[in-house]
Symmetry: C2
Subunit: 197 residues, 2 copies
Amino acid sequence: MSSTRDIDALIDLMARLPGLGPRSARRAVLHLIRKRALLLTPLADMMQTVAATARECVNCGNVGTTDVCDICTSEKRANGEICVVEDVADLWAMERSGVFKGRYHVLGGTLSALDAIGPQELRIPRLIDRVREDAVSEVILALNATIDGQTTAHYIADQLEGQVRLTSLAQGVPIGGELDYLDDGTITAAMRARKSL
Amino acid sequence: MSSTRDIDALIDLMARLPGLGPRSARRAVLHLIRKRALLLTPLADMMQTVAATARECVNCGNVGTTDVCDICTSEKRANGEICVVEDVADLWAMERSGVFKGRYHVLGGTLSALDAIGPQELRIPRLIDRVREDAVSEVILALNATIDGQTTAHYIADQLEGQVRLTSLAQGVPIGGELDYLDDGTITAAMRARKSL
């Protein structure tokens, strides 16, 4: 290992990032030291800034630097539609597609009996409040197509039934997908939801 | 994308690290924001520290926080042997094995006519000085087994011939290696350097 305590400590911290192991953390730290002015110092400064300013939106759970996030305060977005996602990363993925112009609600996970995560641990009560308080016409459940995601979607649908139009993302063949590489569940779902041309 | 300028800027900087792309940089930044006290703030602080203190050893080229590195100043290590490596990462790899107890010399790359990297661009003159000034009995050329690495090894061997014992790392079958998966060059080298049992 490096002969120096601080550099070792930096490698250990970097190795705790998702996607980096000890070897790639060492590579990253050497790269940072070589690009000190261009990368290491700006990165350290920006981390300080984000550590000081990042917070969760009190309304929807999105990550931002204000108490209420830009999406919740934007006047260009439709008020009547709430897209429910598990995680901020999912919100970002939806935003990259650019297809949705309403508001979001980030649950912060999925229901899980095993991990003792109930509705109170997620942002589900707040979602129910939002549907009652705001003039919401549609709640789109954009949860992951996993067992936990779908269980959570069913729970939310039960809670909101009769109060609002509930929809979920369509399931089927992904764009560019080859049938030969798809799992049976996806093909079954695509077949059942087949459309007239 | 995130609605916030600073968070986006942090993602862009993180994506410039080796081994991280835009997607894994986003994942890493979300992880950092969630683990603010445990990871983001300590990481930012340690980056500031390393940015302020990291430097190259004036003697061997190793990275450390002092003008002359811990390995060069250690009294526990043998003076007579210098292990020549291309890069600090290679020095760290040698140190992890714990097999070598002498001093190092980091070239900072390999000779390359294509990239106009000559002996002056590397730390080769300093190596020749060290061999002359110090009582060096052996120079171990631990350069990568690539064409550039071996060209550089030959050049250094030419320069130091007759002044010191010159050795290089053995080539052969790696520990745990299966013949079926090895390239022809490795098998040829291992066969030529075969040993009596």
